[in-house]
Amino acid sequence: MILDAQNIEMSYGQLKVLHGVSLQVEEGQTFAIIGPNGAGKTTLFKVLTGERMASAGTVSFRGQDVSKLPAFKRARLGFGRTFQVARIFTELDLLTNVVIPIEARIRASGKSPGHWWSWEPSREVRAEAEDILERLGFPRQRWEDEAQYLSHGDRKRLEFCVALATRPGILMLDEPTAGMSPSDRREMTRFLARFKAETGITIVMTEHDMDLIFELADRLMVLNYGEVIAVGEPAAVRDDPMVREVYLGKGGQHA
């Protein structure tokens, strides 16, 4: 078990948002969290990644209790994450965007990422960054472009590169295709599927795009009012009448 969360509770002031949520993710699994708006998905995400501390409950990663660790320490242990609205280092070029997490990783492991007097990243760092960019389909001539001029879809892709550069053990994706055009979305779905197959990485994600969920997820958890109302194989969960009522609806759009 790579990720194990037990009885997570969380409140914003008086308002209790998560009422004892538990989840277990196996190594190599793709675990999807769905639920109606306001159910607490983003909040759960924040608790798992360390952006906020839970008011009760524990989060353990590969058997280690990380509940009290701040975000950057969890990131060093192997939590990679993306955001619902892609967050990249806008004013820097693509290559630097990827170099930064690589250097941070090397430094966190106690080694020096390069000579302090050298303004260029070291050869190994650069090679790794180039490899990641190439693998995610950014052509060489765009590497020096400033990231802020990327389109929505490309931003998401770049953010993915940034997350990968930390060599995560687990990828936490908050609505990875939100706001993408159908074609980009399809591309992203395909990419994730291929990536998963190639690397066998563990993924935890939230998503409202059911096509993506049913294509990728190995396990599905449904949250409603901060409580787990269903968890299991995607196909089984889909047919749960309660889930249909509170979340999926008649399913006209997925016809």
Binding site: E51, F72, F89, T90, I100, A108, W116, D145, A163
Partner: protein, 323 residues
Amino acid sequence: MKLAARLSLAVLLVAFLLAPFLVHPGLVFIAGFAMIQIVFALSWNLLFSYAGLVSFGHAAFFGIGAYVSAVALRYGWHINFLLIPPISAVLGAAAAFLVAIVVLRRANGIQFSVLTLALSQLVVVLIGYSEYLGHDEGISAIPRPVINLGIATLDLNNPLASYYFVIVIGLIAIALIWLVVHGPIGRTMQAVRIDPERAAFVGIDVWRLRVVAFTLSGGFAALAGSLLAPWAQIVHPDYVNWLASAQPLFATLLGGAGFFWGPVVGVLGLAWLNYAMRTFVGLSEIMIGASLLVVVLLAPQGILGALRDAVRRRRGKVAGEHR
């Protein structure tokens, strides 16, 4: 663009190096002073444009360097003066480190700025209590040192020698700041400035990085300060107060925030403005105030920002065109 920028830098460097042979001593003094201000402003900009922290009390660290070297010269410490700038830098960095670990734990954003302001004003008050530091009148008539270089001696009482001493140390400091900013630390600082939360999620210890940035910046500010005593021969609490702290901010904004060389352009611009207004006795406040307003309104990106936009416009190459 790149070429033009490099050419201008080269011209500027040559101008600094040849100043004593080109202009009258009043301007040479201003040039030396500008070099000190440039290092100070660059140290501040290291925080602002790279680490995303706004310090309103940076003059306190400048003051540490200034007072250390003033005291060393005035009270005739037996120490090779060549060691004073690095010693000042270390002391400034140490002070900055202490401030950072206390202040950054609790505050960031504007609160951070204000705390630095308050602490630096406290330094001013404390200097006022100290007999050794000359109370509110500062330390004046500071003798210029004779430096033993082993094979030769360098007598800073010679105007040329003292000028080149300031310029060379200043250039070394600028080179060091440039390297810090463009190396791995600089890159990480940028990431933290642009999006600290995002940076944390790739495993960057944001707090620690900010402490490092503040410490480095404080060190360079103190280094700049240590040049003041032998150059101006007076060190005064006015160099420590909030107005002094605002100088690098203005220089950076005037030159253009986000550019490494912005503060250089800004310091020179402000120095020129002050110099140009010197004969308007009694009216200089009005003239400088109006000039600042005009610059801000006409070039809200600073001078370098305006230049960049102008170049882009001429080339027809624009932001966001390529996707």
